[in-house]
Symmetry: C2
Subunit: 378 residues, 2 copies
Amino acid sequence: MVNAEWQSGFSFEILAKDPHSRARLGRLTTPHGIIATPAFMPVGTYGAVKGISPDELLQAGAEIILSNALHLEFRPGSEIVSALGGLHRLMGWDKPILTDSGGFQTFSLAKLTRRNEVGIEVRSPVNGSKFQITPERIIHIQRNLGTDFMMPLDVCAPGDASRESVVEALETTLRWAALSREAYDRSNPIHLKPQALFGIVQGGIYGDLRQQAVERLLEIGFFGYALGGLAVGEPIDATWETVEFCTGLLPEDKPRYMMGTGTPEDLRTAINLGVDLFDCVLPTRNGRKGSLFLHDGKINLRNAAFRHDINPIAADCHCYACRQDENGRPKFSKGAIRHLLVSGDPLGARLGALHNLTFYQDVVRTARETLKLNSETV
Amino acid sequence: MVNAEWQSGFSFEILAKDPHSRARLGRLTTPHGIIATPAFMPVGTYGAVKGISPDELLQAGAEIILSNALHLEFRPGSEIVSALGGLHRLMGWDKPILTDSGGFQTFSLAKLTRRNEVGIEVRSPVNGSKFQITPERIIHIQRNLGTDFMMPLDVCAPGDASRESVVEALETTLRWAALSREAYDRSNPIHLKPQALFGIVQGGIYGDLRQQAVERLLEIGFFGYALGGLAVGEPIDATWETVEFCTGLLPEDKPRYMMGTGTPEDLRTAINLGVDLFDCVLPTRNGRKGSLFLHDGKINLRNAAFRHDINPIAADCHCYACRQDENGRPKFSKGAIRHLLVSGDPLGARLGALHNLTFYQDVVRTARETLKLNSETV
């Protein structure tokens, strides 16, 4: 293995461990700043977390955000992002960014894709034009973007796929993982700061395949390891068994990222199984529609029951939507935000998303604080 | 004339006058704070300035905003706004609010309306249900809203209407103005703070009718006077002649509001003709689409020419979209905002609206500063 680019500017330290679970408190250092882990990444697929400003993301407590290499290649094109100074500049966000490769997107856009030996042919959902993506091109795109964490192109099999298909998907994923690492090693940052590469563990719900995946990825060598192909239709028990199996195999000293998960409860479960990083569209997508997370469950603020409600979404929440005004009264009542949501004002969607994003950041912050209190310092 | 409710809590002082025009620098005091005039009111028809937060309005320099009594009666209903503590609470905006009556909206929703002796029957554009609105009901609605400045129900004739129709519309407007004042005098604030009532001058482009309107409204007595029925299709020269004619008739010591106007150049023209207050959807509606005001003209940021543009919208602008980051680089480049606009991200619409709102506030602030420098203090 050649000397990895991520050896400069990146590090991952475990600061404390939970004596009763696999949970760990970590510090992930990047050229764009430090992330306390466990961490949740808001999703800004197209280079923005729909309608939310970078300052609002900071205020919600986010230290890293997620975007998508393939979608940015569709629009505006990674060459244009590069000409504009890279994705950090495009987004007005100077803190760390992780980009997914688009492997999962070719799975969710299955009707628009055709896979062959060297890559995937995909039609842009924007204008139908053809893109031939390969492991090498996905690395090149992420060089154009200049993101802190790059993901290799992978193949995700559906949760109900036959073992045969999962084997085939895994073989391709592992072959492409090696090609991605080679393309990474052969290329250099365009936007000056070094970038780090993750590996993606596939293998469905089959322990032996997951084990094969982990072993091969460790041979190739990556800065961190992502768990892919989970919550794609398999039974929920199998999801957690697979997570537990994989975190048991992965090296302690590398960051672990469970892709595309999940509810607040899912985050807590996965943290206890030793996962460090999360992303999910749930808080923003639900929040924009008025489906809001609370400590005692969820509410749908569009419900007529909230029409006259003068209380804030959550009295103990510090988000912009729940804040008090100078006179100690709620800045926005549930009735007011309901009116904005029902009348389709984008401010309603924004307040809902801000509340949920803050809630998610509070989930991981609380997990970190609990770890700090209860853990063995390492 | 009975002792007017606005005599407590409201005042209008002229601080300086331009020796070369009718422009004046004023201070408009309300129970929710002071407004420096000439002033521009961002438009929040349904109780929000689409997608923009109250803090962003403050940051743009707004000291008063406009909303619409009739639209709020359609949705969520003024009784509900009242139950939520009034419109200031609904909007999270503790500074002054002016509500238009909906007279102009029954004009722009003409197909949904039918006028009779006592009022206007209008179908809700939200769900088609019938509303019978009268001068008295519009006052009642604005009592429910608790807005600082209330407008009476009026009738606006199109710019190409016959003199006969304009006479008829004016007669109804003046009859309703008297009924509005009576309803105002007979009622009390629901939300504790006093409210003030404006009169609306109609009469099309006919000097004698405008004169009749001003004289009758002055007999009835209002806190301030609005110029209605302008920029509704009449020749532009006639617009300005009418404004000049009316401000020549109106008392010096009362605030004057030109409804629904206009471009930055229109504002400057009207200020020189002695107008104090403005509202217009132009900055927000255009801004959301990427049509942006600059000191040297307008640009459409969706234009492909801006695809690679690394510069901010305007280097000399202090709005959120044009601000620099910690490193003195533009927070958002034109290329970045173009990408947000083209990909339909609500953040693009928001940044465009914020830029234009700030531009409009700068237009009136510059006018005030010029008046301060060049004027005779009174």
